[in-house]
Symmetry: C2
Subunit: 174 residues, 2 copies
């Protein structure tokens, strides 16, 4: 046995040179495979972005509609105490008739302005609803006022569309 | 000359069969070229859409900011006549002191609410500016009131940030 043959036997596990080359050829992507992978990659990115853009546009539309719908919320809230004051003034009996007319006109004008922007008085006759009413006082229920019904409104509540600007302050039978 | 040769001569313009095949091979894109074209196409679409999305987001932000900035415009405009009426009432001399106090309170409260939303009275002392003032009357200019200056304000004007809600109605010297 020559020295060379001996060495060969010692290295029986070694993969023949030719096979290595074949394996490398399999692992190394071809130009075509690279191009296809790039095409797939950008197609995927494109489709994801198209979907994302649709979402962004939808959200942006929804947000704009909400902003539009509730745009008067802050100013409306700040005007409510003025309407309260005007109504309190109108409750005074001994007032000059022309002054009363003037105050009524302003009160109606403010209420109409709010109504045109979607602000409505909260209905407070009937059953107490914690979503719209705040019970600031309770009285014992009787035949005329069963439990959980509103006996008296101390301050009107208002809502803008379905959003409560402030609840009505009520006396509830219990 | 054989019949076949004659036919050949008649059809001199005909491209040799071999050349046609070469040309077809050139026109027909290879699988690699198709993949590369597809990759380029989607890369282009992806980049365009990315740019478009940035534009949409920028525009949407600008639009949201504008909506937010001028959200109180409509309600504010509708409240101005009420403030006019309250101010007119306060100009009446013979009014009960408690009623006057009440009207003053409402007038101040409404003006403060508007101011918190960015509504300000238009300054009307000094030079007439058609962007902010409407001349409803003119008087001859004199030493005290040079031409183009405001002599009197008949109705206050208001602006929301830099937008005029309504101009002030003024008397101008001419």
């Amino acid at each position: 046995m020559s020295k060379k043959d001996l060495k060969k036997e010692e290295n029986e596990e070694v993969v023949p040179q030719e096979d290595i080359q074949v394996e490398e050829a399999i692992n190394e992507p071809t130009e075509l495979e690279l191009a296809q992978a790039k095409a797939d990659d950008f197609e995927d990115k494109y489709l994801r972005m198209a979907a994302e853009m649709q979402n962004i546009q939808r959200r942006s539309n929804e947000e704009r509609q909400t902003l539009q719908r509730y745009r008067s919320q802050d100013l409306a809230k700040k005007i409510l105490p003025s309407i309260d004051n005007l109504e309190r003034a109108l409750a005074i009996d001994e007032m000059d008739e022309s002054v009363r007319k003037g105050i009524e006109m302003v009160q109606e004008s403010l209420t109409r302005a709010l109504s045109e922007e979607g602000v409505e008085e909260i209905s407070s006759d009937g059953t107490f609803d914690p979503n719209f009413h705040m019970a600031v006082q309770t009285v014992p229920a009787d035949d005329e006022h069963p439990a959980e019904t509103i006996v008296q409104v101390l301050q009107k509540g208002y809502k803008l569309h379905e959003r409560v600007l402030r609840p009505s302050m009520v006396v509830v039978a219990q």
